[in-house]
């Protein structure tokens, strides 16, 4: 069992500026990392003998909605701000847990994929891509998963998403 601070210090010495900071909160403190280095950090967490984070419990994309919000014709449009991905990891051997977070700008949301480190990340990343438009670099098969393959009206879980009026030329009835 290692505490968050110990884990943070281990990662900080190994990856230096790519591990940004430890955010302390009463429940589930998390470590903010560099989005383009997250695959290497993950590989280290998985393969290091003393860490062995072999189980990716959950991977969730989040729209932080911290940009400038300006209502245009009643629809809130967000400029700037970030999208984030949270990784909840666990070691089935040592029973310690850690939460990682990466932030990426809204205009060019790119995060390195961890699908080849933990195969369970494959579908989770496809879901985050599908619903939030986060691009996972080097993902083996980045397609939409829950929405139709020909969906063109954007990414539903973004805070500034507006329902489309037409779908394939048909009026949407609401």
């Amino acid at each position: 069992m290692k505490s968050e601070e110990e884990l943070f210090n281990i990662l900080k010495t190994k990856f230096n500026e790519n591990v940004i900071k430890l955010v302390k909160q009463p429940i589930d403190p998390f470590i903010i990392c560099d989005p383009l280095m997250i695959n290497e950090i993950s590989l280290y967490l998985l393969s290091n003998e003393e860490l062995l984070f072999d189980n990716l419990m959950n991977l969730s994309g989040v729209d932080d909605a911290n940009g400038k919000s300006t209502p245009i014709e009643g629809i809130a449009t967000i400029e700037g701000g970030t999208l984030s991905v949270y990784y909840h990891l666990e070691s089935t051997k040592f029973r310690h847990k850690v939460v990682l977070k990466v932030c990426t700008p809204r205009e060019k949301p790119e995060v390195a994929s961890v699908a080849l480190v933990w195969r369970s990340a494959d579908w989770h990343e496809r879901e985050a891509y599908d619903l939030l438009g986060i691009k996972f670099l080097n993902h083996p098969d980045l397609r939409r998963i829950l929405m139709p393959y020909d969906w063109e009206a954007g990414y539903p879980l973004r805070k500034d998403y507006a329902n489309p009026e037409f779908y394939h030329g048909m009026k949407v009835p609401y």
Binding site: Q25, N58, W118, L146
Partner: protein
């Protein structure tokens, strides 16, 4: 003349009785051997997570029912304890015990469907009818408790919607007495059936390391021989007060981690659930089940990930609160969603007919896969 071979693509579903819902599997075949399985999901997608952002915390509960509709109590349970952790409230003992009883009854009901439909998929119709007959008794118990048979809205944040019916304890004890011999009957009827064993033993073997890397949980992971149960390994509610075993796959009729092992773990788990219910009924304390329900749920700013052992595996809720009365983001880690991702690995180099045996042993609920 040279013989030319080429791959064939076969679509299984979306309308197919053994896909347990609307799931399309794209099978790439060479002759009758599976080269690749590509699952296409999303036919039941209704964006539960987006809905939550427009609801207050208590309003989300009926929506959680509709994810894994065969284990609705488990979904409510998970959501309630996640929000309670965010709020930091303590519950009366009675609430915790009733939740455990409901959760375990639901586990039996859900496993009965899994076992029954698994038999039906493979061609044994009788166990299906037997399983549904017994599940009916559990649904009647739920009905006298909260009025609903499938989608309960019973476990609320901070408590329960109703106290138990005066007859509940007696009827549940009767059910336990009634159900124990039925498990033996099911073993005679299906588990040891020669045809059933031929169809499931040594089929779709899942090695443990692959299972963990793919994030597989629940009876599937235990079928591969790993003693991992969140009720014990990341305990929640009052599960640490009960004595129960964690059954694992042993490869009794084939290899460890085959379809039969996954099936048999479910049978054994029903017996363990009966044990838990029995102990919980014995210790059931008195008290008021609605006293701790907060008038207004407004958690402090923060994020939390909490998970429970649902019949299908680890059900996790990741909730971010921004200090208002509705959640800022809810992400559900649905066990079926993650477990389905391994289909390609399990089916490789098997026959087409084995896909049905393997899919049945994964035991998915599409309402939860697509959310």
């Amino acid at each position: 003349m040279a013989i030319k071979t080429e791959e064939m693509v076969l679509n299984m579903g979306p309308q197919h009785p053994s896909t347990h819902g609307v799931l399309r599997l794209e099978l790439v075949l060479e002759g009758e051997i599976i080269q690749k399985v590509i699952p296409h999901i999303g036919y039941l997608h209704r964006c539960f997570e987006k809905h939550c952002e427009a609801m207050t915390y208590p309003q989300v509960i009926p929506y959680t029912d509709r994810m894994d509709y065969l284990a609705a109590m488990g979904n409510e349970f998970g959501y309630a304890i996640t929000v309670e952790k965010l709020l930091g409230i303590q519950l009366p003992e009675r609430v915790e015990y009733i939740r455990v009883i409901m959760g375990e009854l639901q586990r039996i009901a859900s496993h009965l469907v899994a076992i029954g439909t698994y038999g039906a998929d493979i061609g044994a119709m009788t166990p299906f009818l037997f399983a549904f007959r017994d599940r009916e008794v559990i649904l009647n118990l739920f009905e006298i408790t909260c009025g609903a048979r499938m989608l309960y809205n019973y476990i609320w944040v901070g408590g329960l919607s109703h106290d138990l019916h005066p007859d509940f304890v007696r009827l549940t004890r009767e059910f336990i007495k009634y159900f124990r011999p039925k498990i033996v009957e099911m073993n005679e009827l299906l588990s040891t059936n020669r045809i059933f064993i031929e169809r499931t033993a040594n089929v779709g073997v899942l090695p443990l390391e692959t299972a963990i890397n793919f994030g597989i949980t629940g009876p599937m992971l235990r079928g591969s021989g790993f003693k991992w149960d969140l009720r014990r390994d990341d305990t929640y509610s009052v599960y640490n007060k009960f004595d129960f075993d964690i059954p694992v796959g042993e490869g009794k009729v084939g290899t460890v981690g085959d379809c039969w092992d996954r099936y048999y773990v479910r049978i054994l788990e029903m017996g363990e659930s009966l044990k838990i219910i029995e102990q919980a009924l014995d210790q059931l304390p008195e008290g008021d089940v609605t006293s701790a329900i907060p008038k207004r749920i407004k958690p402090p700013v923060g994020s939390v990930y909490k998970r429970v052992e649902n019949p299908r595996g680890e059900l996790g809720y990741f909730i971010i609160s921004n200090g208002t009365t509705s959640p800022f983001r809810v992400k559900v880690r649905a066990p079926s969603f993650v477990n389905l991702g391994i289909m390609d690995v399990l089916c490789k180099n098997h026959m087409v007919a084995d896909v049905i045996a393997i899919l049945g042993s994964v035991d998915i609920v599409l309402g939860e896969v697509d959310r």
